[in-house]
Symmetry: C2
Subunit: 138 residues, 2 copies
């Protein structure tokens, strides 16, 4: 897809087949861990190395092309940078959901309390998703 090519160029990243595949996998999955990405990449690039995955992830993080989400009791996951948002994680099945909150008031409150000049936030809620709630009842 040429949209992927344009996006890579916009972020000053050389276009390689591996990178395009990484992008497709990210778009398809939303969030993905290093391991999962490596396994998924192997489908079409059987000889890809883990070093390549790490090098790309790190480069993409530096260029602010990717965002890293840290989750309790779970490996970090990575997603394409988009509008700032929060995450909800199921402690049972580990599913990660994007959630768009209006954090304006929260930022004001924290600024007033801390006197920090705030830049970003990392907000993760932990709970049990609808599906896993049903499983527990039955």
């Amino acid at each position: 897809m040429s949209a992927h090519i344009d996006l890579l160029k916009k972020y000053k990243l050389t276009v390689t087949p591996q990178r395009l595949e990484i992008m497709s996998i990210l778009v398809a999955n939303g969030h993905i861990s290093i391991d999962e990405l490596y396994v998924a990449l192997k489908v079409n690039f059987p000889s890809v190395s883990l070093a390549t995955v790490y090098k790309n992830i790190n480069l993409m993080l530096e260029k602010n092309f990717l965002f890293e989400v840290q989750i309790q009791n779970k490996k970090n996951v990575y997603e394409l940078v988009k509008k700032e948002h929060s995450h909800v994680v199921c402690t049972e099945c580990k599913e990660v959901l994007d959630i768009y909150l209006n954090t304006e008031k929260l930022f004001l409150e924290v600024t007033a309390l801390s006197h920090f000049s705030l830049k970003t936030s990392s907000i993760v809620f932990n709970g049990i998703c609808e599906n896993c709630q049903k499983v527990q009842v039955s």
Copy 2:
């Protein structure tokens, strides 16, 4: 301090000199990384091993005696479990501040949007603290 002894017992942790010292360090520092804790422990226990630090931290996390705070571009820090709260981190000097927010409305909003049964939240704000703001201006 016997309060520390009682607290360890409450969490079903055997009382040892090393653990009491870990608690004192935690109380004195608020939040601390593994390395910092190891260095601080060595002051009074020069022969303490890093393995002991890890074993204690992991045990205390399991017993919900300690809480792990994950911070972007910084090593994890650990704190004694207390009332749920959020954190503000200075991206310059890496200072970590506790902050008590009323997150009730936020929980309701997220519940409505996600249909998760929420348990906990992990909220970290990143910005520049008062001191570092002054430094930048001058």
